[in-house]
Symmetry: C2
Subunit: 304 residues, 2 copies
Amino acid sequence: MSSGKSAAQLLSASNIGALLDSVELFLFDCDGVIWKGDKLIDGVPQTLDMLRSKRKKLVFVTNNSTKSRRQYAQKFHSLGISVSEDEIFSSSFAAAMYLMVNNFPQQKKVYVIGGEGILEELQLAGYTGLGGPEDGEKRVQLTSNCLFEHDNSVGAVVVGLDPYINYYKLQYGTLCIRENQGCLFIATNRDALGHMCDLQEWPGAGSMVAAICGSTERDPIVVGKPSTFMMQFLLKKFDISTSKMCMVGDRLDTDILFGQNAGCKTLLVLSGVTTQSNLQHPSNNIQPDYYTSQVFDILKLSGP
Amino acid sequence: MSSGKSAAQLLSASNIGALLDSVELFLFDCDGVIWKGDKLIDGVPQTLDMLRSKRKKLVFVTNNSTKSRRQYAQKFHSLGISVSEDEIFSSSFAAAMYLMVNNFPQQKKVYVIGGEGILEELQLAGYTGLGGPEDGEKRVQLTSNCLFEHDNSVGAVVVGLDPYINYYKLQYGTLCIRENQGCLFIATNRDALGHMCDLQEWPGAGSMVAAICGSTERDPIVVGKPSTFMMQFLLKKFDISTSKMCMVGDRLDTDILFGQNAGCKTLLVLSGVTTQSNLQHPSNNIQPDYYTSQVFDILKLSGP
């Protein structure tokens, strides 16, 4: 079942063996899969330990751009899971890597609508970022003869989830994209909602990205899921065919679609935003290969 | 030439007579047509006087929702032009009228992402508005167990140009639309850019509207140009066939399209955002019936 058109199979004691045997690399989404907000989901550490003991490779692929890879590794450690920075593929990292693989000139600057994580990844890649949290409290003067100045050496605008979005940043990003010749417009992702706290959802990067689409009348280059841009790095790093990879995630339109677009096996967990009735609703046309309630089931079903 | 497909005719001494004879009502856009920011465009008062002396009816149709009709009438007066409130059709007024003609219940509330003008028109129509400028300085607390509360009696969210856009307002509007059953999502307009000052353009209502589309995955009901919603009021008020109306504006995709969608004659003036080369560019498929440099030409070409 690789087309994604047939209905998903419930993960069970009778099919888990075949899945584990055929997969060398598991890709995990984080929010709703590994943790919810600041709380680890039940049984995750034991399950990851079991997979490592079977010599499976593990990577963590997240659309959340507010943190850098270093900051993500710290979060894993603070939750008692040992993960190295180079097992983490965040959309903040993907944005910096997009610039690098496209030979974006080091002397050009990058304007950021988003969090510290993007700025840190840009810096690690040797680029100069502007904006981000620093522009969060800036206000605009809308007098009749005001002139908003922007840096003409900005060659890319990166937009991610930004809880400090304001009119100053919208105008800055818009002017760069409209007026700086060849300026790139890069979206970390277009998720409608983001997990900003445990009890409810908040507007996601898709909201800020859409705001810039609305003012510039341009479409962004998306580097996070479901775009397969990050897969280039995984393939180069691991040299494993995507048919021997399994994407584990809680969102149909990002995680599962990302896995399917890349040719991976896919496993939906119901511990995040998607319910079984969402999955089985006639309007849903994204079917993973397998689904189960949570990551812990991989351990529980595979037996002692 | 009513299809809008043939190339626009330059307004001239030889065709102005036929235009004036066939038109009983002129609809004018304001920004870029009557004024630019706080400056009146040359020759406008004399031209409007001449049209009134020929017993032409005049109305002013603007997508700018930051002001109410009362505030627009004040602006006209401050520039030395006598215009009554009921000759003004702003998108702020249109939003309130949309609720009224659709029997929106008076006991339900309206959350506003936008300016004072929308709140004033809502109040005049008997509705209770929330949000607007009052929420401009509100910040969100993104702790892990935070819960953002919203009013369950909000039955409509109205989004217009908002220079004080922030994450609080995005979350408030998003929660109302996603969680309050049947909640309407109304956009004053979707213009990419707005005339916030004389020297450059700024992100328009289209940016804020897109941000809410991005987080709610819903499309708005648009009440401003190029939607012909406001035409219902004009037709009821004046009882003039749209073929005897002429829309005068500076934007192809709002003003001219609005006029054409309603079956009016259309006149593009080049005193605002559209240049002659924009008009004549092969990628442009919106052709007005006539074009000229500015409103004053109507007077100058029609002779003594």
